[in-house]
Symmetry: C2
Subunit: 203 residues, 2 copies
Amino acid sequence: MITIYGMTDSGNCYKPRLLLAKLGRPFRHVEVNSLDGSTRKPDFLAINANGKVPVLELDDGRRVAESNAILLFLAENTRFLPADAYQRALAYQWLFFEQYSHEPYVAVRRAIMRYPSRAAEATPERLAATLTAGNRALAVMETHLATHAYFVGGELSVADIGLYAYTQDAAEHGFSVGPAVAGWLDRVRADPGHVPLGWHPPA
Amino acid sequence: MITIYGMTDSGNCYKPRLLLAKLGRPFRHVEVNSLDGSTRKPDFLAINANGKVPVLELDDGRRVAESNAILLFLAENTRFLPADAYQRALAYQWLFFEQYSHEPYVAVRRAIMRYPSRAAEATPERLAATLTAGNRALAVMETHLATHAYFVGGELSVADIGLYAYTQDAAEHGFSVGPAVAGWLDRVRADPGHVPLGWHPPA
């Protein structure tokens, strides 16, 4: 059985759990807390030299890091990754958009507002900067979703799962979620096999 | 013929040019300067709503944004992207590492040191923060390259092209480039069809 090392409350770590739940694929969850220094300890750095969760571990011990790389790997030959080369390229595009233009603002503002251990980072300047840049990313999503039901190819894919993870509670952290994004959030939640962020696989 | 919209001096925009040169595939280069506001003007936002270069445009007008998504798209069925699912996953992993843990520090410090229009951002705090985090990414690369010739599968792939773009002049901007990274830079430069950052296709 495959293993996901991850922190339950992290959106990045939620991504592979959500995909695996939708695929009905069993896996083992190993909690690794990135807030208490666990991801920077030698035993975890031996698992991922970059000191980040999530990490996917296969039965034979081979590993893949980076949440969106794990999504792409697990989605191969499933309905969650298009077979068409151009549609795949758009899935890649939106996943890189998520990690470069969305997560560093939407997830970071969430983290510094949410976790006492990161409260010192929640300066007015940092809160304002992450809000502005995160809202810019959400506006790009709003523009796309105004004329598309999903990000790629008219159906739910890894691009939606990747972007859902930190958009699903963005409004709670002060971000502007437009009507097209709100409708898309509802569609993702209604897609078969959906599980919420706190979900773990049955032991 | 395909078109790349990009800024010559940007490492992100260099990535597809380098891959296309190595593939011997003709393309048209359209200069778009991200420093003078060109990427935020309405005519360019119609090309990429996220206001960033590079953008790949196909003959039929379809487009792909995000430098590493363009690399993956162009590399399909070539020697630069492994066919094996696990090796592909590692290529994805390193490309996401590049955009999340490397580029925001190595490329940003380069930009604020290099471009007069961004000099106001080059505060001592920003220079120090980007140096520390960038050196951490370079140390992760050093660890990997101490025991591997390339990032994935023993030969040059899109992962190397993606990471080469902003590592190739990192030492000029004060970053610590270890011996394994330096040796890898030499191997990338020696690979057939290499072109430097300033290269453009013949008209």
